[in-house]
Subunit: 337 residues, 2 copies
């Protein structure tokens, strides 16, 4: 679906010049790859609840994937990130073109960010269009649009909390970080796509609610695990440096817990230290273990996975779907093992 | 319609905290005021072509107005502008809150820009929703969504050209500036709203096309006149300083023409001079008159207004609508008299 969408868009862009086609190509590059969680969640719920119009479900999945692209492209502008998983993102590739042309770095960076704002706008607007193009009509269509709408509404609220937290001198508590992570990412990645798949399959409200609840819990668990991997992960597996979160002083559950422990006095000088070394990081990791922050965070992730599994117990959820989603929940946890 | 839309959104935002409600308030502030060109154009075409469902037309008009809000909020981020017509915009008001809290200016500015990216995303996504909420269904709805989609598609293309032009050392030609201005602003301000109003009224394709053509021409004329006012306008009337365009070295039709005249050697040292004085500006204005750039630009605006009026000659356009839109075209020109 996304292939076809981008091919149409690029074709249409030709009338506006080669640069505009390139922008659409950059957007396409930033949409492909990744784990495609959102289409997978839509499809799992849809097929698991007896849906057979794979075409429509693929469009709905693509809509959430394009929403994801829009949100990460803009999030990278907000975070002043020029790469994602080691590859230049939209801001980064356009910055690089400008620096290669001899444009000074601050101007080149702003150019990259400007193009990324435009690209994200196109992705955002078209996520909506893809639901429209699914061919679904009437109440189901209206319901799907409400779900997509809520996903963006929640994500914007989460992004706002994130922006505000990064400005506050004091560090937030565990609950505040959890709320931010849930709204900013978990809702649109798990909760909303599962709801959408269930609604598209014509599932009863109780089933839609049970899947939404599962998605909410597994989504939170996923973010908590991400916080752990950002410090304790293996770079070879995550594709991310395990110094990044510490260097940027990222507000995570792990750190939020640590602030309440005696070990914080050892840890805090390293949080946000832009030239943090591997040796510094080892010290911080040890302190996070001694403080109990690592095990607290692991337990917290497990407790959300438990709640996710409990939501699946609803008798109207067919067994194969329950099995598939249970496996997804275990996969989330296994990332930290 | 927008009042109701914002009141619902603010109510919904309460569950996400007071800061999120404030963000919606800021977005509402940045939507009200202004000339409300887009709803006026939708309504003029709709009522002038016999439409009677004022409720639906108001929603469609509000959709274009919200698209406008999204685009200017993001355009201000791209241009690093923190005010619009002398009043702090979203970036500006959030920057000011941060500086008042003692946050250093670069961080405060980035915070303002970050919040503005989020706010623009919400406005953009919801512009689409408002068409949906108009109650229009079937082919007409699909057609309206295509028109809104094209408006954003064109505007993004224009914004990209603008970003690229501002990076190029050489100055663009008149045609390039005209293309940029048409795509970036004229399409979604005049052409698309008029088309949408006509489609909503069930007008025949030839009438929709005639109004689109009128909108395109009058929209270009409006932008050309804006370029003139940016240098020769009366601040008391435009609410904008007449030094701004020169200080920022804005790519305008006026300047594009001047580059091709012998007077350019006198003018160019002042273009983009950030501390340009009123005395410097007087000298530039005189040179732009001697070079013929002012009269060329005025003639160009008139020729587009002439073409706009010619488009209205189509026999299927009712006389009262022709009269109303002719008046709009003359108003555009009268701003420079």
């Amino acid at each position: 679906m996304l292939d076809r969408f981008f091919s149409l868009a690029k074709n249409r862009a030709k009338a506006f010049g080669a640069e505009y086609v390139k922008l659409w190509e950059a957007l396409e590059c930033n949409t492909s790859g990744g784990k495609r969680f959102r289409p997978r969640m839509v499809m799992a719920a849809y097929e698991g609840l007896g849906g057979t119009d794979i075409h429509a479900a693929a469009y709905v999945g693509a809509a959430f994937e394009l929403l994801h692209t829009a949100l990460i492209v803009h999030d990278d502008v907000i975070d002043r990130d020029f790469s994602r998983r080691g590859i230049p993102n939209v801001s980064g590739s356009y910055r690089d073109i400008a620096t290669t042309a001899g444009i000074p770095i601050p101007t080149a960076e702003h150019r990259g960010m400007s193009v990324a704002i435009i690209a994200g706008d196109l992705a955002l607007f078209n996520s909506y269009r893809l639901i429209d193009r699914s061919g679904v009509t009437g109440e189901v269509r209206e319901h799907l649009l409400e779900i997509l709408d809520y996903a963006l509404f929640a994500s914007a609220a989460g992004e706002l909390i994130d922006v505000d937290l990064s400005l506050t001198a004091g560090l937030p508590g565990v609950d505040e970080v959890l709320t931010m992570e849930r709204l900013k990412t978990a809702v649109y990645t798990f909760e909303s796509p599962l709801q959408a798949g269930a609604v598209l399959a014509g599932a009863p409200d109780v089933v839609v609610a049970a899947l939404a609840s599962y998605g909410r819990e597994v989504g939170i668990a996923y973010q908590i695990v991400d916080d752990l991997l950002g410090v304790f992960g293996l770079e070879t597996e995550t594709g991310k440096t395990t110094l990044g979160d510490l260097r940027e002083g990222k507000r995570t559950v792990l750190i939020a817990h640590a602030t309440q422990t005696p070990e914080w006095s050892v840890i805090y000088p390293y949080i946000g230290k832009s030239d943090l070394s591997e040796r510094d990081a080892t010290l911080v990791r040890t302190a996070l273990e001694v403080s109990g922050s690592r095990s607290f965070t692991e337990r917290l992730a497990r407790s959300h996975v438990d709640r996710a599994l409990a939501s699946l117990a609803h008798p109207e959820i067919p067994e194969p779907l329950r099995a598939e989603l249970s496996a997804v929940a275990f996969d989330v946890l296994s990332r930290v093992r």
